[in-house]
Each structure stands twice: as structure tokens, then as C-alpha cells.
């Protein structure tokens, strides 16, 4: 198992803040909007440098999506910023009609996704956003795993034409992707080659997958770990190539079991190469208040849950072969 060094510990939303500033410097058409959460979204640096390219919309997310759609018509590249819940469920039809269906070049940037939002509780902890966004035709859906990857993704989506949902989080987590790792939309990132089981992880679960890889290695299991940062378009080739080699898979995401990465991979596998797949995800329940770590443990989003899932997947593979 390859060693990964923790380069630093930072929140992914700060990666977004830095990436937005860089994107703004590179392209004068990049503009930003926020719904009364500038500090939480780390948009201050962009606002300071480009005050005339920032629009405060107040607590009015539906209006923000519509205004963003309109700004694209003049050739602007709007980045909207609010929490993941208010970026998706709150404004689904505005995104559907004015952005996705109308093919508008809006970048929906969503912080505080998932359980790790913590103490604010279930009203704010959206666990269905990847599903909702994946279902929209033409939408690109990205869930980066650390500060560096979020920064790179933010800059990459500015260059990409079309609607994008970019999801990141609140807590401080390990930075382990090197700064010079290119971010290619739709291209899975191989983290560790292995032969016994394929672990496909996204967002905050990628570091946990690496931790799981070490535990599995101690048990003599050689896990392949692949970072699926782009949920849509999904890198089918990378998934199939890996599972054809290992014969079984685990998905890991900070999201509801229904509709997320696991479902997307299941679709690829059942249609092309039916193989055992174990999903690590929230089991069709709402979250609650608590510290991010407590919640990840209570709802089974841990490295040990990935280890257990890998062992189950391998057992099923052997049963099929026997």
C-alpha cells in the first residue's frame, strides 16, 4: 500500500475560496454571487479583489440561481455560493429549468455538504444533493476530497462550458493530493493499485479509504483505491477496468445510499460487468446534531466501515467463484 503524506490540514471550502480568486484573476468573466454566507463560503478574498464582480443576493437562493442564469447570457461565468442544502433541494426547479434545461454556464458551488456540517443538524445536512444533481441531464457533478483538489476543481470548472455542481465541506481534513496533480473533469484518479478489491471513494471518504487500505494491507488484502471526484460524467472505463481486475468493489460517500456514487457505480457494473458491490453510505435516514467525527461514526462512514465492506465484497466474490 502506497504511503500518503498529510501535507497539511485544511477545510475544502477554503480550497474553493482560493480557487475562485485564481479563476477570477485568470478570466475577467468570472463573477460570484452569495446568499448571506460570504464567510462560510470563503469568498472574502474574491470580493476584496473584485468587488464589482460580486453580487450579494441576501437570503434568497432561488433568486440567486435565476440571476446567475441571466448573467451567463451576457457571457459571464457565475459561481453561486451557499450551503449544499440551499444550493440544491431549496432551488431544484430553478436549477432544473433556468440552468440545466436552458444549458446555462452556471457553477453551483456548495459548502457544508453532508454530515460533517455537524451541530446545525439535519435541517442543514443534505445527504441527497449528489442524487438530485446527477439526475439532471447535462449537469456535471464534482465532489473533491481535499483542499488542493477543491482548489484545482474550482479552477477547472471555470474553463469548462456547461452547468456544474461543485460540492465541498466545512471541517478541517487532511490535505494529501499534491498541488501539481492535474484535475481532469470526468477522469478518476488512481491512488493505489491493487488486486483484491476496488474501493471507489469520493469527497471526505477518500482519506478514510486510504486509512482502510492500510488496515486491509495488514490483513493481507491488496486494495485498489480510486478517487471518483467527478460523479457525473462518471469514469466508466476506469471503474470497469479496475473491477475486471479485482472482481469486486466498495463505494464510499458522505451521502444517502439512494442516488449517490454507489448507485451510479452499481448501474455501470450491472449493465456491463455484474460483480459484488458493497456501499458505504448513510442508510436512508436523516442526520442529526453532533460533532463531525461523532456523526461519521454513528452513521457508519468510517475507515473500519470501508474495511468491513471490502471484506464482505471479497467474500461474495469468492462465493460466486466457488
Amino acid at each position: 500500500m502506497k504511503q500518503f503524506t498529510i501535507l497539511d490540514k485544511k477545510d475544502t471550502r477554503s480550497g474553493f475560496g482560493v480557487g475562485l480568486l485564481e479563476a477570477g484573476r485568470k478570466n475577467p468573466n468570472v463573477v460570484a454571487l452569495c446568499a448571506d454566507l460570504v464567510g462560510s463560503l470563503k469568498m472574502d478574498a474574491f470580493i476584496k479583489e473584485f468587488p464589482e464582480r460580486f453580487f450579494q443576493v441576501g437570503i434568497a437562493e432561488a433568486n440567486m440561481m435565476g440571476v446567475a442564469a441571466g448573467l451567463t447570457i451576457g457571457g459571464k461565468i457565475p459561481f453561486t455560493g451557499t450551503f449544499a442544502n440551499f444550493s440544491t433541494g431549496r432551488v431544484y426547479d430553478q436549477i432544473r429549468q433556468s440552468i440545466a434545461y436552458s444549458d446555462k454556464n452556471v457553477k453551483i458551488c456548495a459548502s457544508h455538504a453532508g454530515l460533517t456540517l455537524g451541530e446545525d443538524g439535519a435541517t442543514h445536512q443534505i445527504l441527497e444533493d449528489l442524487g438530485m444533481m446527477r439526475m439532471l441531464p447535462g449537469m456535471t457533478v464534482i465532489n473533491p476530497c481535499d483542499f488542493n483538489q477543491t482548489k484545482a476543481a474550482t479552477m477547472a470548472i471555470a474553463e469548462h462550458h456547461g452547468p456544474v455542481y461543485l460540492r465541498f465541506g466545512r471541517p478541517v481534513v487532511p490535505v494529501f493530493i499534491s498541488e501539481d496533480t492535474p484535475f481532469i473533469i470526468g477522469k478518476a484518479l488512481m491512488l493505489n493499485e491493487g488486486a483484491d478489491v476496488s474501493i471507489f471513494a469520493t469527497g471526505h471518504m477518500v482519506w478514510k479509504a486510504i486509512e482502510a487500505g492500510h488496515i486491509l494491507a495488514e490483513r493481507g488484502i491488496d486494495a485498489e483505491i480510486i478517487n471518483i471526484h467527478t460523479i457525473k460524467p462518471l469514469d466508466k472505463e476506469a471503474i470497469l477496468e479496475s473491477v475486471k481486475k479485482t472482481g469486486c468493489a466498495v463505494s464510499a460517500e458522505e451521502h444517502q445510499l439512494n442516488g449517490g456514487l454507489g448507485d451510479a457505480i452499481a448501474h455501470v457494473l450491472t449493465s456491463n460487468y455484474p460483480s459484488p458491490l458493497e456501499m458505504v453510505a448513510v442508510q436512508d435516514t436523516f442526520g442529526e446534531s453532533g460533532t463531525p467525527d461523532e456523526l461519521m461514526v454513528k452513521y457508519g462512514l468510517t475507515s473500519t466501515a470501508i474495511v468491513d465492506a471490502a471484506e464482505r465484497a471479497i467474500k461474495r466474490k469468492k462465493e460466486v467463484l466457488a
Binding site: C34, D36, L37, V38, G39, S40, Q56, V57, G58, I59, A60, A62, N63, N85, F86, R90, G118, E119, D120, G121, A122, T123, H124, F286, E288, S289, G290, T291, E294, L295, K298
Partner: protein
């Protein structure tokens, strides 16, 4: 209709002020205990909740979801849950000791109010802003359909007025003559990113509600218990006359703790140990801390 009311005996002004001081202690201790939360708006709305639950509303701490035969209270700006939890506990809905679990794992006192864990006193989840007025309007209409002659109260934030759904509900309530409703805006002039005039100027907010067909009262000092009670007693006399009633309640964000007052900085930050001690020194303990 069978009445389930245990009429809370209206308290004297002095008693209400004492309760308010204890509730403020509860708020700062709750957010300090977990290290996060929203003290600013909660402190500012203390008189409102204390007056409702200890003086103005007919309500039943032996909680029933349908609330038939009693006045109802909804909190739309759910982030100020700490004040509501304190007042619910202090008026007998659940044990005061439970306040120490606020925002912690396995608690019924979620960061934002929810019905999911079955906390007595809560009838809808709130936290995603802008939704509470609609629910309160529906509950008020259910009362009318049931021939239930009690009132529905709902509190909203002023920043929350940015949400379009508020205005959909405002238009609907006037159109449908929902006149058994007293909606209040916590008009503290602050939201997360700064003063409302800078973030999203509400301009003439009372005039907006009037133009939508509401009876509007301005409460100049929502932290003055006597003035607040007088205003709500007056508001009650305006119900049942064909229009919904709105109170624009001017409050001080963070009221009662000098260093938290008047700034959005304390919207969503917990005090540290020193700040807690400083805050508690300004708030006499009157009913006993949890």
C-alpha cells in the same frame, strides 16, 4: 369542543423579567457548553418568548401535536432555537436539565428545532429559512376549519424576509383572511454578512406588509417587557377582523450581554470561558441554572 388547556397563570412584570434573566443565562450557557450556536438572535428574542409562554398564550405543556384548543407558536428562524428550548423547558414541556444536551449527539434539542426526535413543544422543523410563515398560516386555517377560536403566533427573522416564500405566504394570508394569526418579525437590523441595509435593504418593511393587506404594528422596543406585552395585548384586539396581523419588533441582537449587543458578529459564535463569565455576571440567576 373539549378543552385541553392548562391555562398558564399570567405572570407579573417583575416575574417575567426574572424569568428573562434566567433564560438569557440558559442561552449563553447552552451555546458555550457545545462551543457553537446562535446566541445573538436568541438573546434579542428573549422577552418575546417569555411573554408568550408565561403571559400571553393559552398553551398546554402536556404536549399534543394537533394543538386543538390552545394557542400555537412557531419559530421560522430556527437558528435561534436556544431561546425557545429554554422557555419550553422553563414552562414545563421537558426537564430543564435536558438543556445541557443542546446541539450534542443523541439529543432531542437539535441545532435547529425538529419534530423528528419528538421534543415536546415543536410542531415543525425549521432552520432552512423562509418556510415558517406558510406553515403557521396553514395551522391558523386548520383552527378555523376546526372552529377553534385560538391564535397562531409565528416569529421570523428580518434577514429571513429576503426569502420569496415569505411574500407568497403574506399574499396568501391576506387573500384568505387568515385573521387568527400574529406574525412577528425580529427587526434587529442584522443578518450573517452584516446589517440588513448593507446585505439586502428591506426598505420600508412595514409598508410592504401593509401593501400586502396586513394589519401592521411597530413595536419600538421588543426588549422592554411592559411595552411588548402592551403591544401584543393590542394586537390580539386586532385579530378576527379580516386581516392577518404583523408586528415589526425592534430588538437588539445579543440584548442583555453588553459585548454581544447590536452586532451581527454574535449571530453564530459561542462565547469562550472568559466571555461566559463576563456574560453571566450581567445576568442574575433567578430560577436556578440547569
Amino acid at each position: 369542543m373539549e378543552s385541553v388547556i392548562q391555562d398558564s397563570t399570567p405572570k407579573t412584570l417583575e416575574e417575567l423579567k426574572d424569568i428573562s434573566s434566567q433564560v438569557r443565562r440558559d442561552i449563553v450557557r447552552m451555546v458555550h457548553g457545545v462551543g457553537n450556536g446562535h446566541p445573538g438572535g436568541a438573546l434579542g428574542c428573549t422577552e418575546y418568548f417569555v411573554a408568550l409562554y408565561f403571559h400571553l398564550m393559552k398553551h398546554n405543556p402536556d404536549f399534543k401535536m394537533d394543538g386543538i384548543g390552545e394557542d400555537l407558536c412557531f419559530l421560522s428562524n430556527g437558528h435561534i432555537s436556544a431561546v425557545w428550548y429554554s422557555v419550553l423547558a422553563r414552562s414545563g414541556y421537558f426537564p430543564v436539565a435536558e438543556l445541557s444536551t443542546h446541539r450534542k449527539i443523541n439529543s432531542r434539542l437539535q441545532g435547529h428545532p425538529t419534530t423528528h426526535e419528538g421534543l415536546p413543544g415543536i410542531r415543525m422543523a425549521s432552520g432552512s429559512l423562509g418556510q415558517g410563515l406558510s406553515v403557521a398560516v396553514g395551522a391558523a386555517q386548520a383552527k378555523k376549519l376546526n372552529g377553534d377560536n385560538h391564535l397562531v403566533y409565528v416569529l421570523m427573522g428580518d434577514g429571513e424576509q429576503d426569502e420569496g416564500q415569505i411574500w407568497e405566504a403574506a399574499m396568501y394570508a391576506a387573500h384568505h383572511k387568515v385573521d387568527n394569526l400574529i406574525a412577528t418579525v425580529d427587526w434587529n437590523g442584522q443578518q450573517i454578512d452584516g446589517p440588513t441595509v448593507k446585505v439586502m435593504d428591506l426598505k420600508d418593511l412595514p409598508a410592504k406588509y401593509r401593501a400586502f393587506g396586513w394589519e401592521v404594528i411597530i413595536l419600538e422596543n421588543g426588549n422592554d417587557m411592559a411595552e411588548l406585552i402592551k403591544t401584543y395585548e393590542h394586537a390580539k384586539t386586532l385579530t378576527g377582523k379580516g386581516s392577518p396581523v404583523a408586528i415589526m419588533m425592534k430588538t437588539g441582537m445579543g440584548y442583555g450581554v453588553d459585548f454581544m449587543m447590536g452586532s451581527h458578529k454574535w449571530h453564530g459564535v459561542a462565547p469562550n470561558d472568559d466571555q461566559l463569565a463576563q456574560a453571566l455576571a450581567q445576568l442574575p440567576e433567578t430560577l436556578g441554572d440547569f
